[in-house]
Subunit: 345 residues, 2 copies
């Protein structure tokens, strides 16, 4: 899922998301959209779909990630999280119930439970208490969600989130508790927050062994192209990550042959396309020397090309993964690709 | 002509220039391209066409405008202008001959003569001496241009530039001198540098009465939508201006009903398209409330939408002008439009 925090996938037109990236779903962020443009405007627009014109499904982060990323601007209690707006300092209490109501108004197709995403590292005692509160919050989310209706004539569904830090026993406990809620899909949160990759993989494997295989498993906030392939191998079906757009804006390109720092001197007179392998307009039309020139000149078009290419690459990669799964040669292909993608060109 | 100073029309993909804006020609800048990416890279790429992939004609500013805009970084002598690079402080002598050679290497379809663009206001004596030097430089440009060949297998042509400040007798003298060179097209420089609109119109009218009507007349650096219509009425065929893109990046939209400051509160919940009248993706797909949100959130997509819309509007406007000229009702239409376009919504 390309990330569109405030209702826009940065530097990418909606038409490009549909036609070039061929995204099937995008992500928005409850906390950010609640602050700006605000619920009144979103409701008048017919929800986020009406506001930004994206024709496909939308999943919204619940604000649980901001509990982590804005840790100096929030206070957590059993009731919920009190945030101080990063825009104007105003205070806003996010409770599980309120977060469900907000996502009803945003009109997200997939609504995420309100959780606490603890940091890494995190003491066992804190991780346990936090996880238990996340479970209690989930019960409140489900109650509110199940007793309210969609506002715009299309259905919405609620995904719960497994927490428990990097402690295997807590993760098992959480995965079992979350699976027992029997929702239509399940998410794994609290990873990709600074822990080593092997802990992320181990935790993902452990949790995937418990979450039902016949429902989508969503690994939140992950990751590099290699992370995606490894986690697909472990049973993950859905990802979101800002890397393709954020790293793109810093001149880092993901390609089928490895990563490129487009600002390097080495691309100065390289008139080969960004990545002919993956096809599509942006990856085959512009050459590397031109893109380098745009970055060195501080031109907006450079950010646009890099963002659009990286997203196209990510969607190409998971599309390839899907094909190889269906063809039955996923592991062989994955192991070859992991070596290739980890290269720096 | 959309302006692509360093080889990119800011915030607009090449594909969008072709398909959405439907630009027939774009502009590049000799001084900027010479400094970055530099002639070695441009030559290896097959010129600017090969470098940025733009499939249509390109006109290049000669650097004469930088003689004006970078006046604290250059020294003018009969030989040419010594520039100190705005990038690294290095010194570069631009002579008429060198500027022709550079534009041969850039591969511009229309090469502009190297001139001095004097400021406004400008004393009579200075304007006269400057104009006379511009005429001598033009003779040197023609000699060099006519004794050299295109580098990439397509033809190039050289347009001379009328100067003379806002002094009618100098403008007459310059227009007659320039017309006598008998090139394929002629330009009017030294306007849109701070003089009142009535002086710009009066000068344009005077000069258009002298420059041959059967060759394109190009008014450099102009202007607002109203300026364009008024100057078309006076006989101008070609324009370039950064207004559609620069003003767009500041949230100012040109529409068929007048100008919009998209940051205004008034658009907060306005879900009507930017300008349904002109048609096309960007002007009909995104609504004003969303575009306002993008600007208030500092999102790149806002810059993209505003730039693409404004360029589409400019090209729509001159397309309409062309149709009304052919239909024989241009003045009536122009007078109606001028009132409409001058409104602030």
């Amino acid at each position: 899922m390309p990330v569109g925090t405030v209702g826009t996938v940065k530097a990418v037109h909606t038409r490009e998301l549909v036609e070039d990236v061929q995204a099937q779903i995008i992500l928005g962020n409850t906390y950010h959209l609640y602050l700006r443009p605000g619920l009144a405007v979103l409701e008048q627009a017919g929800g986020l779909h009406g506001f930004n014109g994206w024709p496909g499904p939308i999943l919204t982060d619940s604000g649980g990630y901001q509990v982590y990323s804005l840790s100096d601007r929030r206070k957590i209690t059993e009731a919920g999280a009190m945030f101080q707006s990063h825009l104007d300092g105003s205070r806003h209490l996010f409770t599980p119930e309120k977060v469900m109501d907000i996502q009803r108004t945003i009109g997200a197709d997939i609504v995420m439970a309100f959780d606490e995403c603890p940091p890494y590292p995190c003491e066992y005692g804190y991780a346990q208490k936090s996880m238990e509160m996340t479970h209690r919050w989930l019960a409140r989310c489900c109650e509110r969600f199940d007793s309210t209706e969609p506002k715009y004539g299309h259905s919405q569904t609620l995904f719960p989130i497994v927490q428990g830090g990097t402690y295997p026993d807590l993760r098992v406990q959480s995965a079992e508790a979350i699976a027992a809620f029997g929702r239509e899909g399940n998410a794994i949160g609290g990873l990709s927050v600074g822990e080593p990759a092997d802990k992320m993989y181990a935790t993902t494997e452990l949790v995937c062994g418990i979450l039902p295989a016949d429902k989508p498993r969503y690994l939140m906030g992950v990751g590099t192209p290699v992370n995606l392939l490894e986690c697909i191998a472990l049973g993950i079906d859905m990802f979101d990550c800002i890397m393709p757009t954020r790293n793109g804006r810093h001149g880092m390109l993901f390609t089928s042959q490895g990563t490129i720092n487009i600002k390097n001197e080495r691309w100065k007179a390289d008139f080969s396309p960004i990545d002919p392998e993956i096809g599509g307009y942006v990856s085959t039309f512009y050459h590397r020397a031109y893109l380098r020139h745009l970055f060195l000149s501080g031109e907006i078009l450079g950010l646009q090309i890099a963002s659009l290419h990286n997203l196209s690459f990510y969607l190409w990669l998971v599309g390839q993964a899907r094909e190889h799964i269906l063809a039955g040669d996923f592991y062989e292909w994955k192991n070859k690709m992991v070596g290739q993608l980890a290269q720096r060109l």
